[in-house]
C-alpha cells in the first residue's frame, strides 16, 4: 500500500525546481547589490583623501 504522506515524484521535482529558482534569484540579487555598490562608490574610493 502506498504511503499517503509521501510526495509523488512530480510534486517533488516541481518543489526542487522552485527551490533552485529562488536560490539562483537570491544569489543574483546579492551579486547585483554588490556590483551596484562598487560602481556607485567607485569614483569616491578613487578620489578619497589619504
Amino acid at each position: 500500500m502506498s504511503d499517503p504522506n509521501r510526495e509523488d515524484d512530480a510534486a517533488a521535482r516541481a518543489r526542487r525546481g522552485r527551490n533552485i529558482a529562488i536560490a539562483l534569484g537570491l544569489v543574483a540579487f546579492v551579486i547585483l547589490v554588490y556590483v551596484v555598490t562598487v560602481v556607485r562608490m567607485g569614483a569616491s574610493v578613487a578620489n578619497r583623501p589619504f
Binding site: A14, R15, R18, A21, L32, V33, V36, V39, R40
Partner: protein, 323 residues
C-alpha cells in the same frame, strides 16, 4: 470583491515556469524596449551597469504588476478563452502565491531602483505598479468602458522611468514618449476587442464594443487615430527625432489612418445574421480589417521606438523643426 479564491485549488504542483508566466514575459519584453528607448534618448549618459540595473528594475516592476493583475483577475480570466490557461485560473498556482510574488517583486524593484539610480525613477516605478494593479485592475477594468484609455497610462510610463533613471529629471520629451504610447493604446486594444468582444461580454468586462456597440467603437478608433498621428510626429519638432524618425512616423501614420478608416467603414464587431450569407461575409471582412489595424499598430509603435533608438545610438542629428 472579486478575487482569485474561487479558482485557486491547485491541480498540480506549481513549477518555476508557472511563476515566470505570472510575470507576462512578452509584455515585459515590450516594456524593456520602451524603457530602454527612454534611457538612451535622455541627454545624460550613465554607467552601463547602472543602465542595465534600471532596465531590470523596470522589467521586474512590470512583472510584479502583472502578477498582481493575475491574482486579482483570476475570476475574469477563468471565463475567457484567451486567458483561462493562465497559472491561477487553471489552478497551477494559488492566488495567494501570485499576490506574494507581486508584492515582493514590487518592493525589491522599487527599492533597488531608488538605491542604485535615483528616487524620482523609483517613485515613478512605484506609481506605475500601483496604478496598474490598483487603479486599472481593481477599479477601472470592471467599472468603465474607458478602462484601457485611462489604464493605458501604466503601459505608457516606462520610457519616462528610463529617462528619469538616466537624468534624475522627466522633461517634456520624456512625456512625449509617454503620450505616444498613451494615445496608441485605445485604437490598438479596441481593434483587438472588436473581434474578441464575446469573451469580454461573457466575463462581464465593460470593454467599449460591449458597452457602446461596435459602430461607436469603430468611430472612436478613428478619432483616436487622428489624434495619435500628430503626437507621433511631434518628436521631430522638439529635438528628439531626426529625419528618419519624421519619415517613419509620417508614412507609418498615413498607413495607420488608412487602416483605421477602412475599419470605420467596415462591419467589424457587428452581430452577423446567420441566415444572410452576405451579411456574414461583411462581418468577417470587418474582423479582418480589425486584425489588420491591430497588427499594424504593433509594428508602427515598434518602428517609432526602434527609429528613435537607432538615431540616438548612431548620433543622428535631431531636426528641432520649431527652432
Amino acid at each position: 470583491m472579486a478575487m482569485a479564491t474561487a479558482h485557486t485549488t491547485p491541480r498540480a504542483a506549481a513549477r518555476w515556469q508557472d511563476f515566470l508566466q505570472l510575470l507576462k514575459p512578452r509584455v515585459m519584453s515590450l516594456v524593456i524596449f520602451t524603457a530602454l528607448t527612454g534611457l538612451i534618448c535622455a541627454p545624460d549618459r550613465i554607467n552601463p551597469i547602472l543602465a542595465a540595473v534600471a532596465v531590470l528594475c523596470i522589467a521586474v516592476g512590470a512583472g510584479a504588476s502583472a502578477s498582481l493583475n493575475m491574482w486579482y483577475d483570476a475570476d475574469i480570466d477563468a471565463k475567457m478563452r484567451r486567458t483561462r490557461g493562465r497559472p491561477v485560473p487553471s489552478g497551477r498556482v494559488q492566488g495567494a502565491d501570485a499576490l506574494a510574488l507581486g508584492v515582493v517583486l514590487s518592493l525589491f524593484s522599487v527599492m533597488l531602483m531608488g538605491m542604485a539610480l535615483n528616487w524620482l525613477a523609483a517613485g515613478l516605478l512605484a506609481f506605475t505598479i500601483a496604478f496598474y494593479a490598483v487603479v486599472y485592475t481593481m477599479w477601472l477594468k470592471r467599472w468603465t468602458a474607458q478602462n484601457i484609455v485611462i489604464g493605458g497610462l501604466a503601459g505608457a510610463l516606462p520610457p519616462v522611468i528610463g529617462w528619469a533613471a538616466a537624468t534624475g529629471t522627466a522633461p517634456l520629451n520624456a512625456w512625449l514618449l509617454c503620450a505616444i504610447i498613451f494615445m496608441w493604446t485605445p485604437p490598438h486594444f479596441w481593434a483587438l476587442s472588436l473581434y474578441t468582444s464575446e469573451d469580454y461580454a461573457k466575463a462581464g468586462v465593460p470593454m467599449m464594443p460591449v458597452v457602446k456597440g461596435a459602430a461607436s467603437t469603430r468611430l472612436q478608433i478613428l478619432v483616436y487615430s487622428l489624434l495619435l498621428i500628430p503626437v507621433c510626429i511631434a518628436p521631430a519638432f522638439t529635438g528628439l527625432g531626426g529625419a528618419g524618425y519624421l519619415a517613419v512616423s509620417g508614412l507609418g501614420g498615413l498607413v495607420f489612418l488608412l487602416l483605421a478608416w477602412r475599419l470605420y467603414r467596415s462591419l467589424a464587431g457587428e452581430a452577423a445574421d446567420p441566415r444572410n450569407d452576405d451579411g456574414l461575409y461583411d462581418v468577417r471582412a470587418g474582423a479582418r480589417d480589425a486584425r489588420n489595424l491591430f497588427a499594424f499598430s504593433i509594428l508602427y509603435l515598434a518602428l517609432l521606438f526602434a527609429t528613435l533608438l537607432a538615431e540616438h545610438l548612431m548620433g543622428a542629428t535631431p531636426l528641432e523643426l520649431f527652432r
